[in-house]
């Protein structure tokens, strides 16, 4: 009968952590940062269909890096968890803290019990009525939770990017300023330190807008995103009203924001 080699538990955990970290570092970064009227999510993601950022509930959103299938199942679980809680209690009883705890338990259990840890890192953010009440939780592959102040960078070369963002971020930036800062940080933190050009088409941007009633999550796409990111003649803020053309209600594109009289054949933004 052969005996398996003894492997100390420290070594097992270290191997698993290294494995997860390597997987996460391969992907592109996601930045979550507060601005004067809410919380912005900026992901480098050329896909228009496979999202890294998503709505969970009225004031709660989710951002993730790493393996898509793994964080997608947690995203769906989060929506189920939040909707079930909101349905059996009240909409105001759904909190990011409770969801972050649940995610942490799940990630922790998978890390120690399954044959392979999740190669993901996620952020659960809840926008408050004032910037001081905003909550941003970062959850890592082993189930540890951190309550972050103001901003988070995940995935890719996140340590360098976090330093850069920490030096330039301050509370009270406008949406335009914070998006330009986030894109600047993403562009400067390439694999080999070279600056890259990142256009609006390679970005997935969404906000939790503090001033909206009920569902506060909006994706920002199209001309509105381009003008928010533009260094010449920039827009500083997203419109506070929804657009008049039929489309997905959570999308702001700036296409017909000036009036609601667009022609009936207007197909709305491609989502």
């Amino acid at each position: 009968m052969s005996m398996p080699f003894y492997v100390p538990p420290e070594q097992v955990m270290k191997d698993r952590a290294d494995f997860a970290r390597k997987g996460i570092a391969r992907g592109r970064s996601v930045i979550v940062l507060g601005y004067d009227k809410g919380i912005a999510f900026v992901a480098e993601n050329p896909s228009r269909a496979l999202h890294k950022v998503s709505e969970i509930y009225d004031r709660i959103a989710f951002g993730a890096v790493g393996r898509y299938n793994e964080f997608e199942s947690l995203r769906v679980a989060g929506i189920r968890y939040a909707d079930l809680r909101g349905y059996s209690y009240d909409r105001t009883d759904v909190t990011a803290r409770a969801l972050a705890n649940t995610y942490a338990q799940t990630l922790g259990a998978v890390f120690t019990q399954e044959s392979k840890p999740f190669e993901i890192e996620i952020v659960v953010a809840e926008v408050g009525l004032t910037p001081e009440e905003d909550q941003i939780f970062r959850l890592t592959y082993d189930g540890s939770v951190a309550d972050e102040q103001g901003f988070v960078v995940m995935g890719g070369a996140s340590e360098k990017a976090e330093e850069r963002l920490g030096a330039a971020w301050r509370p009270g930036l406008s949406l335009g300023e914070s998006l330009r800062l986030a894109v600047d940080v993403l562009a400067a933190s390439g694999d080999n330190g070279e600056r890259r050009e990142i256009g609006a088409s390679q970005l997935e941007v969404a906000v939790l807008d503090r001033e909206r009633p009920r569902r506060t999550f909006r994706r920002i796409v199209g001309p509105l995103l381009t003008s928010l990111l533009s260094h010449v003649n920039p827009t500083s803020d997203a419109p506070s009203t929804d657009e008049g053309h039929p489309g997905h209600p959570e999308v702001l594109s700036g296409d017909s924001a000036d009036d609601g009289t667009s022609s009936p054949s207007d197909p709305g933004p491609a989502v």
Binding site: S54, R80, P246, P249
Partner: protein, 277 residues
């Protein structure tokens, strides 16, 4: 998050993590069936008396659809509630009105609202109007056992179809049959009288303002002849609930606008109680 029979650390149940379904009702019926109206065991025997909501009218206008409901709930010959809401926004592009047992109906509407929002969040897209109407039909079907004990719920569903760019009305029967209505529809105890009124007043291509007036007038006619339908209450300032859905989305008509419509109809009916014209 729940106590786990296998003794693993506390973590999300597999029901949360399973892939494939975007339906909140399916998820709840697998995970916590007792939270659904259809998932609770029914006591056998006599039926009980519970508040009932009554008349809902809906009609198409040029560019969308209007749904209006009176505010009265009755329990036998007692008025159980004078200012109940029976027309609800189901999502951004549709509304649902309910007639029948108030408690079950309101629970069903809440569940339906979560169902649509849940799909929207998981899929990242709005469900087609036909799809939404069919989801409601299957929820009514699940309610059949309750209906057979007298706790009936009969909704009307109206929405704006983004694909064909037109308003649509769907009516239901108690077994979950779902029918597209052309022009106008009414449901509830005062529906016979409201339908008569709509037949004479409605015509294709109405403007929104005129259509809101017709909806309020049809409810006035229903309340005139049906004791379970509440007429506009000038003393308490209680007006019908009127929702408008067009390509801009769904919204409710404001109280001052409704008051103006009611005042005009009440004035026109003085010395002309049947509204002959």
């Amino acid at each position: 998050m729940t106590a786990d029979p296998t003794g693993r650390a506390r973590r999300l149940d597999d029901a949360f993590l399973v892939a494939g379904s975007s339906s909140f009702t399916d998820f709840v019926s697998a995970y916590r069936p007792e939270l659904l109206p259809s998932g609770r065991p029914l006591p056998s025997g006599a039926s009980l008396e519970a508040p009932h909501g009554t008349t809902i009218v809906s009609l198409l206008f040029d560019g969308g659809v209007i749904m209006a409901g009176d505010r009265r709930a009755t329990m036998g010959n007692v008025i159980a509630n004078r200012d109940m809401e029976k027309v609800f926004a189901a999502d951004s592009y549709s509304v649902v009105g309910i007639a029948g047992t108030a408690g079950v109906a309101i629970e069903l509407v809440r569940l339906y609202q979560v169902e649509l929002e849940h799909y929207e969040k998981i899929e990242g897209a709005i469900m087609s109007l036909e799809g939404k109407a069919n989801r409601l039909a299957s929820m009514i079907r699940g309610n059949l056992a309750l209906a057979m004990q007298g706790l009936t719920v009969v909704p009307t569903y109206a929405g704006f179809d983004l694909e064909t760019d037109a308003g649509r009305i769907y009516s239901y029967d108690v077994t979950g049959g779902c029918y597209i209505e052309g022009g106008h529809h009414s449901t509830g105890s005062g529906s016979v009288f409201a339908r008569g009124s709509l037949k004479k007043l409605w015509r294709p291509g109405l403007a929104e303002e005129a259509a809101v007036g017709i909806a309020v007038e049809a409810l006035y006619d229903a309340a005139d002849d049906d004791s379970a339908t509440g007429g506009p209450d000038l003393g308490r300032q209680i007006w019908p609930t009127v929702a408008v859905v067009d390509r801009m989305g769904s919204r409710f008509v404001s109280q001052p606008d409704l008051e103006a419509h009611v005042q005009r109809i009440v004035a026109a009916r003085r010395d002309n109680p049947g509204g002959a014209r």
